[in-house]
Point group: C3
Chain length 450, copies 3
């Protein structure tokens, strides 16, 4: 359990503190409270349950993005999302996990020395051979892996409909092997953002969401907009999503998965205090998403005189991103308002990006980057341990690193493999041109929008 650091920075939870103070007596049943082995089981199982919820978010991203692209690219979007999740799983195991938790420092041995060896506990491990104050390493690995995969999922939506499959997957390899784990180690691996800045980012508004957003932004700038999206004279051509019921499903899936994302980041469920905190987090996460929905509803009605479903979907997601840096300390009302600000950010940021001619197909940059920054700063509102500099500087440091590193990787891949589909392929759609298939061969007339 290496995330101990995250929670330790906020003061040890009562049950754990008592357990740790007890020292060698850990193997003895306390006269009241939770036995260490029971606590170990509870925390490990909590990681497995919240971990599978976060895994489910991969399906949410796939459905959201497949629903928001035109049908000629829907199969490709599904393929990218499934593939990136699989690649993240393998690469994070081979490289990322070790890199993220370097222990006494990064060495070739520590990072690659375990290539192929057992990361997990031995089969049938005994209670005496594990750290009962923590959780099963396997459950921790499972949970952490899903965060790395989520970061990768964010990128695919922004670059949809014009990036080629293999160059995209090449970027995912670097993102999950190096970019994500290195910066995550700065905070969650006990690095300088945690130790020197007192940076607070409970479940990753910055460490996960803004990172995905920065990587997507760098890619979108280098890749350029879809053909015909921005016409001469400033006209912006709408390219509506082909399947909004699917996009809605994706949003509901992400909402559900987020309970795991934020709730599991409590990292312990071995005391009454911890489970009460996890309960707060679940309730606050839900409240923030609700705030994002209602804010986006109201904002689009006021601005455009009509509600926009895709804005409301993104409003929900922005609410969720906004509460992710601090889902524990806000009251329900505060959580609702923090999420609502996220929803408003999206409504203003989506057209702003279009005016800047940055083509983000699904709104990933407003949702994950802009609301991620907001959420990281919003920690200041409810957590007295946060400092303005301690929040702002890490946002900038992480942003600079990820944007620069991603940009460099995108450029290298572009020079070597070429990231952009040919105009012919893009016009025909990546499904037929790259995959030789259609997502909906029987359904339609095709898009009127190029």
């Amino acid at each position: 359990m290496r995330h101990t650091l995250k929670i330790a920075a906020r003061g040890l939870v009562p049950g754990l503190a008592a357990a740790l103070a007890a020292g060698p007596a850990l193997a003895q049943e306390p006269t009241s409270g939770v036995s260490p082995e029971t606590g170990f089981i509870l925390t490990s199982f909590m990681f497995l349950v919240t971990g599978f919820l976060v895994m489910w978010m991969a399906a949410g991203f796939a459905m959201l993005e497949a629903g928001l692209v035109r049908s000629k690219n829907a199969a490709m979007q599904c393929l990218k999302n499934l593939s990136l999740f699989a690649i993240a799983a393998i690469i994070y195991y081979l490289v990322g996990y070790k890199l993220m938790y370097p222990g006494d420092g990064w060495t070739i041995a520590s990072v690659l020395g375990d290539f192929g060896a057992a990361v997990l506990e031995p089969v049938g491990v005994g209670a005496e051979a594990v750290d009962l104050s923590s959780a099963s390493v396997g459950s921790d690995f499972f949970f952490q892996l899903m965060f790395c995969a989520t970061t990768a999922s964010i990128v695919s939506g922004a670059l949809a409909e014009r990036i080629r499959l293999w160059p995209f997957l090449a970027f995912i390899v670097v993102l999950t092997a190096l970019i994500y784990p290195i910066q995550a180690s700065w905070k969650w691996g006990g690095g300088f953002l945690d130790a020197d800045f007192g940076f607070l980012d409970f479940a990753g508004s910055t460490v996960v969401h803004s990172v995905g957003g920065w990587a997507a932004l760098a890619g979108a700038l280098i890749l350029g907009p879809r053909l015909g999206k921005y016409a001469k004279g400033g006209k912006i051509n709408p390219m509506p999503g082909s399947n909004l019921t699917l996009a809605t499903l994706g949003t509901f899936i992400l909402w559900l998965g987020w309970f795991g994302f934020n709730g599991g980041s409590q990292l312990y469920m071995n005391s009454a205090g911890n489970v009460a905190d996890i309960s707060r987090i679940f309730a606050n996460t839900n409240a923030a998403a609700a705030g994002g929905v209602v804010a986006a509803l109201a904002a689009t009605q006021l601005l455009y005189r009509r509600v926009d479903l895709t804005m409301v979907l993104n409003g929900a997601l922005a609410g969720l991103v906004s509460i992710t840096a601090e889902p524990l300390t806000p009251s329900l009302g505060q959580a609702t308002l923090i999420g609502a600000v996220g929803g408003v950010i999206v409504v203003f940021a989506v057209p702003l990006l279009d005016r800047l001619r940055i083509d983000d197909v699904v709104g990933a940059i407003p949702v994950h980057l802009f609301a991620g920054i907001w959420g990281t700063l919003a920690v200041l509102l409810t957590n007295s341990e946060a400092t303005f500099f301690g929040q702002l500087a890490p946002i900038a440091i992480v942003g600079l690193f990820v944007f620069a590193a991603s940009g460099a990787v995108w450029l290298v891949i572009d020079k070597t493999m070429g990231i952009r589909a040919t105009p012919e392929h893009e016009m025909a759609g990546l499904d037929s041109s790259e995959l030789g298939m259609e997502a909906y061969p029987e359904f339609g007339k095709g898009s009127q929008f190029i």
Copy 2:
């Protein structure tokens, strides 16, 4: 934990009774069994897991309803379902939760006094500061909130394809702030239906499902049928759902979520007896849904010489509603039969409503109201503590209150805002006329059915 009352009415579960009898010794580890703090964690976590399953039902309703409307209204149906869930979350927090559990009685202070204040335990609460015989307040709130949202979800399907967005959402505000919580307090808040009638409604065949059904019925009568649905001379025009795979997905989601709905209503998982009861409930809930499916399969084959998928989907849901008032006491065989009766009810009730020219787009009234009444009466078959009067009178009282209150609210909203879309908007579909978008802009030829 205010639902203690619900379970207390059925006799305290052994483990809990022992714990309560122990009195001040609660802080001491018992020489056998489950320590109070461990029990607190287990029950709280059970609420979180079953709560997220019930939250997932919101996605199920969205998919079911979006699949059963014509494609020109599918985006609107998604929007309504997402929005009503968000509104329920906020309003239930602001008003409903307090109103539902009035404690020593309703006062302005008790209901609105906590506006914006902490409903949940403080962050990092200690084991000594919570009631270890119960669950985290946050987990209870999270779980209860989902029941309120479910009630609201039921309404949206019946009124689909012709009700305007904002008037619909205005009704949801009143439903989740007042109508649902007030009547729920009568049973689950320790009110007169619980105390004076001995009314038994384990997870809400009446308190949730029939309430949604009554509110939908009042709305459907005031709103009127869709244009062209009922032609002169008694002809009923079919208006088939546009996406039956999506409707099937919604049904599976609801089936899954129902394990949380019924299972979590056990309210405790701090003893072997409680977890055995929850296991019974899971198995019985599944059996009743299966019974509903097979009954609807058989009934449609016998009546119409061919099976009807939408009837079978609703058969599953009717089976689930039927077992909700008492998922614990039946045997597996009894649960199957109780669900099967629900499936048959749907097959007969759907055409009956059409003959009455009550246009219920998705069959919500047969499923949630009719099967909800059946399920509430079916408690008499397996639970000897139930009395006929004690079941029937509350069905009528709740029905009268909800139908009258909902009707009044619908009428007020109609007079002030106007609930019905214009004929032009309705013919064009609410997606393009109200939202300016299409759910499937590339797919189709549109419905042949007006």
Copy 3:
């Protein structure tokens, strides 16, 4: 708890062994570790959580198959999947569960004697009345039922688009009443494959997946290919799936559900060792699926110069089937490779079946039968207790039994009811001809592929 045998064959887990050795002292709280009642709750709740994940796989099969058939059969495919799950639930309760765990031998009394009686514990059972070293019977039943239903789900995809509804459901009755439980009893009910062969099949690569595959193969041979699938001169007509985003969703659902399928098969969560093992299983299951995806990606790119989404979807599933016989002992790297081999098998087996003119609409036979055999043999690679003969002979015995029994049942049903739709019905699609409805009445031009 009858699966004790499965785990006992691998050596009792430490916590359980200690508990059992303690004998009458079980009712006493141990001075350290997990109290028996807490362990009972934890294991039971684990079964409920993993059980609902496996139930969710039914939705995954439904979406996968509905997405891979032509739209004219999509409603029927949904109906079959929902109905088979319901039938499995009822029949497994009435017959299968008893047959699978015969105790002292099969007698009419033991199998049918409990018809309608309580399989589950009594309501409000006391801790003293249950076996605290195990789990609630209800949770075990719920979990085991889902495995039977999964076996049935496998069959429906292979035979899609030409088998009639009721004959198909008749087969499901026999499969879930007799064929599945009888062979499952040979391994998981303590039968001769377990006792005499030392056969190892942790979660059912053979007992579940190959059984579904054999039953499907027998059916496919007797049913024959879809009209026009195999033209004269050896030409194979593609009949592409109508909704690949739905098929992708189905794959993600199955991936998620598989954590429950494999993880729950640990059967105990009452010690640190057990939860660490379950964590290993979750991580390995995920790794194998990832391996299957990447292998199918690479293999289709190398073989066909373009990636095929449906192959990648099936690659994920084949990876999952491959690890199912032994998800515990492999390292993460081994699990990835075992899954990768499964992915490659699918890429080669799908065209092989086509060359043999065996029409498997969704690739169920490559995924569940071929990868199931591979997975059962792959136990030899990482579990030293497995013997080549002990793995191979049961594969053959189960295969022979299921193929012969299924073939006989299919033939009987064909002679009596007729299993194949008429050519007119098949050409029109089963949705309109058998059900009188369309899955997507507004969407499309219909398939160009007959």
